[in-house]
């Protein structure tokens, strides 16, 4: 496997920008949340690419360990975030983020 690290970083950047656009454009709270997951994934991809670039060194595996922790944190984040969306849906009967502009419940 000999892909230049640049290509993978470029792909990671493109995926990140698509995630940013999703957060900026969509109004469905769940789709916004999925876009955030996409951004986390593109960052993970960059980390793995850097770990591969400095491969023979033993320290390169630290990139893999960091990705492992990012995935664990993302799982926790998804659990809490989806619980928040369910709680908002109970009071507002909608998950359109335009409907959640007021601070009162």
């Amino acid at each position: 496997m000999n892909i230049a690290t640049d290509y993978i970083l470029a792909l990671s950047g493109v995926l990140f920008v698509i995630g940013v656009l999703g957060v900026l454009v969509r109004r469905n709270a769940i789709v916004i949340f999925m876009s955030i997951e996409l951004m986390l994934n593109s960052a993970n991809l960059a980390l793995i690419a850097f770990a591969r670039a400095m491969a023979p060194a033993a320290e390169a595996l630290r990139g893999h360990v960091l990705v492992f922790f990012v995935i664990a944190v993302a799982a926790a984040e998804v659990a809490v975030g989806l619980a928040l969306i369910v709680a908002i849906f109970r009071t507002k009967h909608s998950i359109d983020v335009d409907q959640v502009s007021s601070l009162q419940g």
Binding site: I30, E37, R52, L84
Partner: protein
């Protein structure tokens, strides 16, 4: 143009197209399924990058557990389609403009700074990225963060239960 490059461009094409489809599809269920496709494509890229363990974790945790949770919530709320409220007229152009600025910054950093530092990839050692090697690194040097992660997951679980608990009288 080697087989590796052809594989990479095929997988990258699938990843980008599924991400864009996730962004523009109106139905949230379709968005979730396109995101699963995107995660599987990225997992196969991890395999190409000698990260076997992370690829398997990606498939089981992300494409498996997390996306099932998403689909479960979408179907529970019946929120496949959000009725489109009148949006800000300038929202889409401004978002595209900001996205293009971000692309330009990425390109500048990537081809200005990183490209000068990058060299030829060398071969990996035996068992690089295998579960055994990653696990040894994890439990030798990162044991405390690993245990803290378990507390974090416990807190997230308790938080999710507390947030979705029904507070009405007589529900317990």
């Amino acid at each position: 143009m080697t087989l590796d490059l052809i594989l990479f461009f095929g997988i990258a094409f699938i990843a980008v197209v599924s991400a864009i489809s996730m962004l523009i599809s109106r139905n949230a269920i379709y968005s979730a399924l396109f995101l699963v496709l995107n995660f599987v494509a990225i997992a196969s890229l991890y395999l190409l990058l000698n990260a076997a363990f992370i690829a398997m974790v990606q498939v089981t945790v992300y494409a498996g557990a997390i996306m099932v949770l998403f689909l479960f919530v979408i179907m529970l709320l019946g929120a496949e389609r959000v009725e489109t409220s009148p949006s800000l007229p300038w929202q889409l152009p401004v978002a595209i403009l900001l996205g293009l600025v971000l692309v330009a910054e990425f390109a500048y950093v990537l081809f200005g700074k990183v490209a000068q530092a990058g060299g030829e990839l060398t071969g990996v050692g035996e068992g690089f990225g295998s579960p055994a090697s990653v696990g040894r690194m994890l439990f030798d040097q990162y044991l405390i963060p690993f245990e803290v992660t378990s507390i974090l997951l416990l807190v997230a679980m308790v938080g999710a239960i507390v947030l979705t608990r029904d507070d009405r009288k007589g529900s317990r």
